[in-house]
Amino acid sequence: MSKPPILRTEQVCKRFGGVNAVDGIDFSVAEGELRCIIGPNGAGKSTFFKMLSGQLQPTAGRILFREVDITREERHRIARRGVAIKTQVPNVFDGLSAFENLRIAAARRLDSRGAAELARDILARVEMTAHADRAVGELAHGQRQWIEIGMLLAVDPALVLLDEPTAGMTKEEVARAAAMIRALANQRAVIVVEHDMKFVRMVDANVTVFHQGRILVEGPTDTVLRDTRVRDVYLGKAAH
């Protein structure tokens, strides 16, 4: 708890027409912390992530990264500060090979030999070496997720945002992803948005529950998943 926050938001809001997608979020994550965000569909989780990564500008409020105000910064600048995001809808370079996807990511900070080496290394870590030369557009949804996660590893970020990273993955892959995400934390802060309660239990970190654009509860996995308000929000379905 003594570690300083890497990311902090103050009363962040986002309105779309009449909809308050995000409605005054005060949120803080420490350096090296692993955090899960859960909440029903439409709770504002993806919108919140888009503001953190500069894809959307808040209607009100402030976002601070290591106490620097990044609320109105361009998304590539935020990325260069060390914020990397895996979006809910996979964003990869479909026409390029799996290897080239990772190499381009690595080349943002490494020279050409270093980037190629790291790309091969990461392909092995996400178990995609066999598909190195295939166009990412031809790969299955789960495999594309791994490529996108690999690209985040390649830029060596300080803060990793993962928006539903296990969608389209097999059971074994979900377990592997949970293990990898736990390993990622400590050297960097990780925030994961997830729907899959099994996954949230596997990760076993602090959980923040979003509901209608606000924070409903925050705390350790066990406490949060036992909370009756959380059960109500999920209509009792997801807690078992």
Binding site: H76, R80, N91, V92, F93, D94
Partner: protein, 346 residues
């Protein structure tokens, strides 16, 4: 390893280009050289859009703006100064400057793809109408009338740098044009093989992802746009040297549309295809024009519609893909017959 092979290929292209550039004037009649020079000019213009649209994904409907600015800058420069070195530089620099300003608003204003097409088309129409209307003798730059819709005839051909008495003949204009085309081609290949070029292609594939990785897509696109304008401007300079004439039709919709047809015929995302597309379409329209079988514009229109509907990727990529597929199915049937024989099936 493929890198070494690429370098060897480019070296060969360069040497063959040089050999042809210097030997052909001794081998063929002048009128053939003049005709070839026209193809070279159009091929150069095609390369500029092949880069901007084919590789960077910037759908510029007004690439001829830069061609026209280059041509007019050279013309007005050389007719005022009488020596061609500075005018040639102007014919490249002014299009770049204009592209830098226009591109700044387009990319940093995050204008969407379709609107970018519309805006560039409108800019070329404005240029067309502007130049068209400046036909009175009072519209001059320096001592040279702009000529309005009549254009400017009798433009001096380039001279040896610094020696305005040594102007180039048709042969030398051909040699110069071909060398420059080969140089631009090799330069673009090198650019696209570089880290910069790879990021440009990645931005075309997914701009959001590129930015979320920390690449400033706006800056990359602006640089490509300006390089494209330099090449188109150079093509415009050579165009004036080929025909000793420039007129406002270089800014017309028809002219801009033609460049897009060249690229569509040759295929998006290839440089050699763009050159082939330009040469083929220009040859076809000349042939149709001289034989008077059917109006070339109708044929071009039909080609355009057929391409958009049936072969949206262009001819060259389609042929390459066909070839690959045939090879793949051959290897597959090989392995199948192998397993079959192993299984004892004939």
């Amino acid at each position: 390893m493929s890198r070494g092979r690429d370098a060897a290929t480019l070296m060969a292209v360069g040497l063959i280009g040089l050999a042809v550039a210097f030997s052909l004037p001794h081998l063929v009649e002048v009128f053939v050289l003049v005709e070839l020079t026209a193809y070279i000019v159009f091929a150069m213009l095609a390369l500029s859009l092949a880069l901007v649209w084919g590789y960077a994904g910037i759908l510029c409907f007004g690439q001829s703006i830069f061609f026209g600015i280059g041509g007019y800058a050279y013309t007005l420069g050389v007719m005022n100064i009488g020596e061609s070195t500075l005018p040639v530089a102007l014919g490249i620099a002014l299009p770049m400057l204009f592209a830098a300003v226009l591109g700044y608003f387009l990319f940093y204003g995050r204008v969407s793809d379709i609107y970018l097409g519309v805006i560039t088309l409108c800019v070329s129409l404005i240029a067309y109408n502007l130049i068209n209307s400046l036909s009175g003798t009072e519209y001059k730059i320096g001592s040279v009338p702009i000529g309005g819709h009549n254009g400017i005839p009798g433009v001096p051909v380039v001279n040896m740098p610094g020696d305005s008495s040594r102007t180039f003949g048709f042969e030398e204009v051909f040699t110069l044009s071909l060398i420059l085309l080969v140089a631009v081609y090799i330069g673009l290949r090198a650019l696209l093989a570089s880290q910069f070029g790879k990021v440009v292609v990645a931005i075309r594939e997914n701009e959001l992802r590129a930015e979320l990785l920390g690449y400033d897509a706006r800056a990359y696109k602006l640089v490509v746009f300006v390089i494209g304008a330099a090449i188109a401007g150079l093509a415009g300079v050579l165009f004036v040297n080929w025909g000793s004439f420039i007129g406002p039709t270089v800014f017309s919709i028809f002219f801009s549309a033609q460049i897009i047809i060249w690229i569509m015929v040759g295929g998006l995302g290839t440089l050699a295809g763009a050159i082939a597309g330009a040469v083929f379409i220009q040859w076809l329209s000349t042939w149709l024009g001289t034989n008077k079988i059917i109006d070339p514009n109708i044929v071009l229109g039909v080609i355009f519609i057929v391409l958009v509907l049936l072969v949206p990727k262009g001819l060259q990529p389609m042929l390459v893909e066909r070839f690959k597929r045939r090879r793949r199915s051959e290897t597959r049937s090989d392995t199948r017959s192998e397993t079959n024989s192993r299984l004892g099936v004939p």
